[in-house]
């Protein structure tokens, strides 16, 4: 299930970009907390493997407790230990729960991955969570620490050699749930537009796209019509197969037969806006009918990204 999308009946006043209608609506996003983890390894491939493993099953904070993605690949000269690496951004509801996710995920997916080491990528973070200071217990008192430039690192002996992890990681305020919808003539056109958008958005620093390949096909609404214990259920307003059905306030315009959503989490508003602008621009291509966005009428999230305002900047 993707980010919830109950779109109000916004006027379909639209601007166009390369023949694609941009609906005058907004994406609604939420306050979150974020951490950045820098994973290094003997090779870029192993660093990437650890990053992919760490960000698996991290699409929605509702279902997975955390949203995460690989932010960037890092050349050796930019990492703390001079080896190739990746930076991973993780988003949670608060520092405490995010810290628990860091311990679990680094412990299960980075500590176990050959040749890796793990560093804090947000040293300026206003809050700090203990990670290496927890994982050190895996060392069964054979672990040792080093203290350099005011930072403590834990050295945990493992079969391959030694796992190095920073004791604490910074956490900062962030925004989760920026999004837009691609409404296309068919599935193939929707996927192609989404892939182009993801490629463009991944060039932007400070953001990640937490869903598979950066794309959500199963957007959701809050709760459910029939199943009262469901936290979220399918976003019927954007399911093309439900257009015209009784009880469905379909928002799928004529000519559109497939809808994909791109969700973006970021460290700050400016980065998310930059990513949304780049993504929407790249998605405006033949086969795309309309670009819209998911919101809850502006009642739940305090961050509103108005598509027209962003694109006119």
């Amino acid at each position: 299930m993707g980010a919830a999308d109950v779109v109000t009946a916004d006027a379909r006043a639209a601007i166009e970009r390369r023949g694609v209608r941009i609906v005058d609506t907004f994406a609604e996003a939420f306050d979150m907390r974020a951490a950045r983890v820098v994973i290094t390894a003997q090779s870029a491939a192993w660093a990437r493997t650890a990053g992919q493993s760490m960000t698996g099953f991290a699409t929605s904070v509702i279902g997975c407790k955390v949203e995460a993605g690989i932010e960037a690949e890092l050349p050796p000269e930019t990492t703390p230990d001079g080896r190739p690496g990746v930076s991973v951004l993780l988003f949670g509801f608060d520092a405490d729960r995010l810290g628990r996710q860091l311990v679990d995920r680094i412990g299960q997916t980075v500590l176990t991955c050959p040749t890796t080491a793990c560093f804090d990528g947000l040293p300026q973070g206003t809050e700090r969570v203990t990670v290496g200071g927890q994982l050190r217990h895996f060392g069964d008192r054979f672990q040792s620490s080093k203290f350099l430039d005011g930072v403590r690192y834990w050295r945990i002996p493992v079969m391959e050699g030694e796992f190095l992890v920073q004791e604490t990681f910074g956490v900062q305020r962030a925004i989760g749930g920026g999004n837009f919808l691609i409404l296309a003539t068919d599935q193939r056109a929707a996927v192609a537009a989404a892939e182009g958008a993801v490629d463009a958005m991944r060039q932007v620093p400070n953001v990640v796209l937490p869903f598979p390949g950066g794309v959500v096909r199963a957007g959701s609404k809050v709760g459910a019509r029939k199943y009262k214990n469901m936290i979220a259920s399918t976003n019927d307003a954007y399911c093309p197969t439900l257009r015209g059905k009784d009880g469905v306030d379909s928002q799928v315009p004529e000519g559109a037969n497939s809808v994909l959503e791109i969700v973006v989490d970021g460290l700050d508003r400016a980065s998310i806006e930059q990513a949304l602008r780049a993504g929407i621009d790249a998605a405006c291509r033949p086969g795309v009918v309309e670009i819209s966005a998911g919101n809850y009428g502006g009642k739940l999230g305090k961050h509103h990204f108005r598509l027209h305002e962003m694109l006119q900047v």
Partner: protein, 271 residues
Amino acid sequence: MITLTIREQPTVPLEAELLSPDVVAPLSNGEIRALPVQLGKRQCRVDDFFTVEGEAGEEIEIRGDLSKVKWIGHGMTRGRVSITGNAGMHLGASMKGGTIEVSGDVTDWLGAEMSGGIIRVTGNAGGQVGAAYRGSASGMTDGTILIGGSAGLEVGMRMKRGIIAIGGTVRDFAGLQMKGGTIVLGGGAELRTGAWMMRGTIVSLRPIRLLPTFAFAATYNPVFLRLYARHLTGLGFTIPYDDHDGAYQRYTGDASVPGKGEILVWAPRTS
């Protein structure tokens, strides 16, 4: 910047712990001249031994052979002390921050029990670099000491944190009763290196004789040393860390304590 030049060698060691940026920075030239220094039992003035030029700031330059002048930079927290010439005992002892640079040699107790800052010596040092004073539980607890030449006995004795990097050879008992921190021995060491060490790391870039209470563990290149290499490279001191160049032989000990310390001995790749 204030510049002091020694014009009269003291007959006995001169204690000049007030020659520190923390003390000197807010003073006028005249007030600096009048600062007390201790010659044996006798209290003297700075200008009894030094000419004092310029106005005070965060930087003090001291010129001449100061090998009989003790405690310069004692407890300093900021600023810079530059010494052109040799320096006496206890230079930078208990310092908490700032930088001391010596173009020359220094004698014993350099940076003893320091907790921050950087000391850089181009020449040789005496014994007890960064060490704990007799009866004291811990030596240096943070900061960096770089020595271009050799050093004497008991380097880093009971040190707890921080880095001591020495380009040349050190004498016996380097890392004696070490509790933590890192000592890098660019030119190796004489005897009983790491005796009674409980924690911490001694890195030797030359083969050294080890006590029988150290056990060989493995040959590898620990990742944490890459962080130290980067830190030290920024300070002009190079240590190897790349697989292509060789690897470190890890010895653990001292088992007579018993300890969780380690000695890493660099073994360059031969082919």
